[in-house]
Amino acid sequence: MPEVQEQKASPQRLSRVRLYVRQRPVMLVLLTALTVAFFVFVAALSRAYKDQQTALGNRWFERGIADMSGKRYQAAVKDFRAALLYSRDNYTYQLNLAEALLGMNRRAEASAYLLNLWDRQPEDGLVNLELARIAAQKGQMQQAVRYYHDAVYAVWPSQQERQRREVRLELIGLLLQSNAKGQAQAELIGLSENADEDPVQLSLLGDLFMRADDYEHALAEYRSSLKADAHNAKTLAGAGYAAYELQQYSLAEHYLQDAIKRDPNDKDSAERLKTTEMVLRMDPYQRQISQSERVRLVIEAFTTAGERLQRCAVPSGDGAGRGVVQGGTLSDEWSALKPQITQRGLQRNAGLADEAMDLVFRIERQTSVNCGAPSGPDLALLLISKLREGNRF
């Protein structure tokens, strides 16, 4: 009997359990448990999936890097694209894809990737640099300079100072190329302030200052460089050129002589030295020379100018706006003055030397405009005219 009762009771108990389980609170608890279990399962699945994706992405990325180093840009693009299939937003993959696209000269596509990367990390140095290069290639100077500046102040993964310096040098190169010498000079000053004592870097800075027509800074940089490496022929020549441009001919002569001593094959420096020596030798205004020597130099200059005038037919008037002779030409003036330019005439008349030299300078200036840059003694006289502008005996 008890067994029969038990048999009857068990379906009842079962149905009671079922009823209980079907109550909403219980169902909700069961649903929560099911959700948690499913979540855990998906999390495990997700980890396996992501591991696989990462491995595949890395595999394609490594292939891409290998292709990039072999300059096989087309293959590299495919590899990086494949890598991005597995990690669509991977910064490094995208950056490398952009680099590979740039390698293939597909600037528009590369630009799209780089801009996307820039949105994500505007402080990334390489992205800014590449965007700057693209802008520069497109001729968008303002944008290029902005990106270059961002790259200069950006974060670089390694050798930050060196990278920043190189970016700045690239920017300066671009500015000089586009003849924005003022901007280039400003960048150079910024760069020189942070420059270290490396003579090569200092010499390079001197070269760039020279290209920016800032000879004073150039000379200073060359001198700094020479303190560390006094025998560098290229730096010596650079210093010589800078001094020459600054009309410090004695100093220029010193540096150029040293440069040629270090590098006898440097023809440009030799030529420049020759001119410098002529300037120093032919200048009748120099001190510590005798009166007769001065007279001799005036006569020599007058004769040289006359010869230059003969070689180059000069129209009436002075291109520089000075010394216009009404109704006459420089040639007439020269011919008119010629009889007076003798040793005796110059010694008798103190003002005649000035008059003669004034005509010489006008002739050299005018002929340099009409007949091209002079050379030899004519160049020396032109340089003396610039040096002595306003100076008189």
Binding site: F39, V42, D89, A108
Partner: protein, 592 residues
């Protein structure tokens, strides 16, 4: 509704109402709070969150399954080997056909329509088997390169999961009907990573109406599923969105051109399905074993011949098109080939959705139109990325015929609201052209091809709604005043027609009285008494002219005349409605 409170119930309420503090303590007792949580409407909201979470998890698994299928069937690189490209979709097609015919017959067709069928026909029932079948077959199809998308299967997986949960939770029939759309929104939101668009789509295309009860659940499920999806797959948008720009308003003309082209392409696409799907279905049954395989083979051939972009969902190529990586001529070819490939996949009965192909075609077409316009009018500052984005919306509006979703989808995907004007302009053109040339929307067409008759959401949206003013008639006879005497009222009605008379109450409200009742009052010697207190019905409801006519149906049976009053002045009578006038109006409407 402007029904005045029933005075009887007011009295009852006055007596039954306990003191406020007591009532508050009673309402907030733990037992009542517990009961309130599990009351069906609240429980439904809680369940919506679970539906969202579970659908999100299922969609994440589905995405993994597609990726794994692609990996093992097509290979790991971007350059696919021709042998795999030809074999993978063909062999997968054979397997899919066997699975669909023998194990999961309900996985054929559109998930949207099956969700609608669950809502309108099957009381929210979608077998769980359908979800499993859709998961396996769609993952295989998309992964092997069939030109279909994961959104529609995700939607159906969500709906099916929700239906199972609803059954297990023993929801009422009304709630059960609504639960499938809740799951559908969750599935679609997770697949698109776009909760607003998913909610709008479900409201616009599945449910067809905005009701507060369902909207809360749909939003909750969509949000929870997106949160889960982002947890696992990240929150990045589907595409790298290029800089969106429109420098001159005159560019809107160019976008209008895109709308026209998109509208025509939508019609071509929809007509293709309209013609080919019944034709394929009419073929002998044994051919169904080979239809997906042949479709796969043809798609493989297209890929081998130079357009592998048409395989699969193609999101990565949409991204590339947005960034100007194809010429406009190639983009136009890709759009055409994708239409062909999607038609082949879909009409062959391969399970999968058309959302992704629609986006693909739209993006390619948009970028192609943008590129062509830039070629012809170089002074326009046209960005192909912007055109591709707008193009996606254009196809959505024209092909799927969901104008609101199409706008919000583009905004949500791009995250850029400055694009809204071009999107609206282009989508409007596309929608209007598509509607003009293809009167039956694609989802309705598919429903009819499947032998079902589900309500057309487009027709519902555009249906004329009768209002009270359509059945309103002028008042016959005088309007009495509750302050006048019975005798005066009898004098007023003398010579007028109509048995029932309106009475204007003081200070406000309306009632009715019959001639017989007035005469009876007079014969009882109450002729000098004021009419108001002697009325049998102290107050009747009133309506406003702009209310839907169905509102009147609630009152016309009980009250012979229902006053229609101005909203500005409730004492100003605009007319009356009666049972006869309302039914006459409905009859006229039904006769067209």
């Amino acid at each position: 509704m402007s029904l005045q409170a029933d005075p009887e119930s007011e009295v009852l309420a006055d007596h039954a109402e306990p003191p406020r503090a007591t009532a508050w303590i009673y309402e907030h007792s733990p037992r009542n709070v517990w009961r309130a949580v599990f009351r069906e409407d609240n429980f439904f909201l809680v369940l919506s969150v679970f539906i969202g979470v579970l659908s999100g998890l299922a969609v994440v698994c589905f995405r993994y399954a597609i990726d794994w299928a692609r990996l093992y069937l097509l290979g790991t690189g971007v350059v696919l080997t021709p042998l795999r490209v030809l074999l993978a979709p063909t062999l997968a097609g054979l397997v899919i056909a066997v699975l669909v015919i023998h194990f999961f017959p309900r996985t054929r067709g559109s998930g949207v329509n099956q969700t609608k069928a669950a809502l309108y026909i099957y009381n929210g029932q979608i077998p769980f088997r359908t979800a499993i079948g859709k998961f396996i077959t769609a993952a295989l199809a998309i992964g092997s390169g069939h030109s279909l998308g994961p959104e529609d299967p995700s939607l159906q997986i969500g709906a099916s999961l929700a239906s199972v949960l609803g059954r297990k939770m023993r929801l009422s029939r009304d709630r059960m009907r609504l639960i499938a759309p809740v799951g559908a929104a969750a599935g679609l939101a997770a697949a698109f990573n776009a909760p607003i668009s998913a909610v709008l789509f479900v409201i616009e295309e599945v449910i067809g109406r905005w009701t507060a009860g369902i909207l809360g659940s749909v939003v909750l499920s969509a949000i929870s599923s997106v949160v889960v999806m982002r947890w696992f797959l990240g929150s990045e948008s589907m595409f790298r969105i290029p800089a969106v720009e429109m420098s001159q308003p005159s560019e809107l003309i160019a976008y209008a051109v895109l709308g026209v082209v998109g509208g025509i392409a939508s019609v071509v696409f929809a007509s293709g399905i309209g013609i080919l799907r019944p034709a394929f279905k009419a073929l002998p049954r044994w051919t169904q074993y080979f239809q997906p395989a042949i479709a796969g083979l043809l798609i493989g051939i297209i890929a081998v011949l130079g357009a592998p972009q048409v395989m699969g969902a193609g999101y990565e190529y949409i991204d590339q098109a947005m960034h100007g990586q194809f010429t406009w001529q190639f983009l136009a070819i890709l759009a055409g080939l994708k239409i062909v490939a999607t038609l082949l996949s879909f009409v062959s009965g391969t399970p999968g959705g058309m959302f992704a192909p629609t986006l693909f075609i739209g993006a390619m077409l948009g970028a192609a139109v943008g590129g062509a316009e830039r070629y012809m009018f170089p002074y326009l500052t046209i960005s192909p990325g912007t055109y591709a984005l707008v193009g996606m919306g254009v196809l959505f509006a024209g092909f799927l015929r969901v104008p609101m979703t199409s706008v919000f989808m583009v905004l949500e995907v791009s995250g850029n609201y400055s694009i809204i004007v071009p999107v609206i302009v282009a989508n409007t053109f596309s929608y209007v052209i598509s509607r003009g040339l293809q009167p039956i929307p694609i989802f309705d067409m598919l429903t009819r091809q499947d032998g079902l008759e589900l309500p057309s959401m487009e027709e519902l949206r555009e249906e004329d709604i009768l209002q009270v003013e359509d059945a309103m008639q002028p008042v016959e006879g005088p309007v009495l005043d509750a302050e006048e005497t019975v005798e005066k009222a009898l004098q007023h009605i003398d010579g007028s027609r109509g048995e029932d008379l309106l009475v204007r109450l003081s200070p406000g409200g309306w009632s009715t009285v019959t001639r017989d009742h007035l005469r009876a009052l007079a014969s009882e010697g109450k002729g000098t008494g004021k009419l108001g207190p002697l009325l049998l019905v102290p107050r009747i409801p009133y309506l406003h002219p702009d209310l839907p006519l169905e509102t009147a149906l609630r009152y016309i049976e009980r009250w012979p005349l229902v006053p229609v009053v101005s909203r500005a002045n409730f004492q100003q009578l605009e007319g009356v409605v009666s049972q006869r006038s309302v039914l006459d109006r409905y009859r006229e409407f039904g006769e067209g």
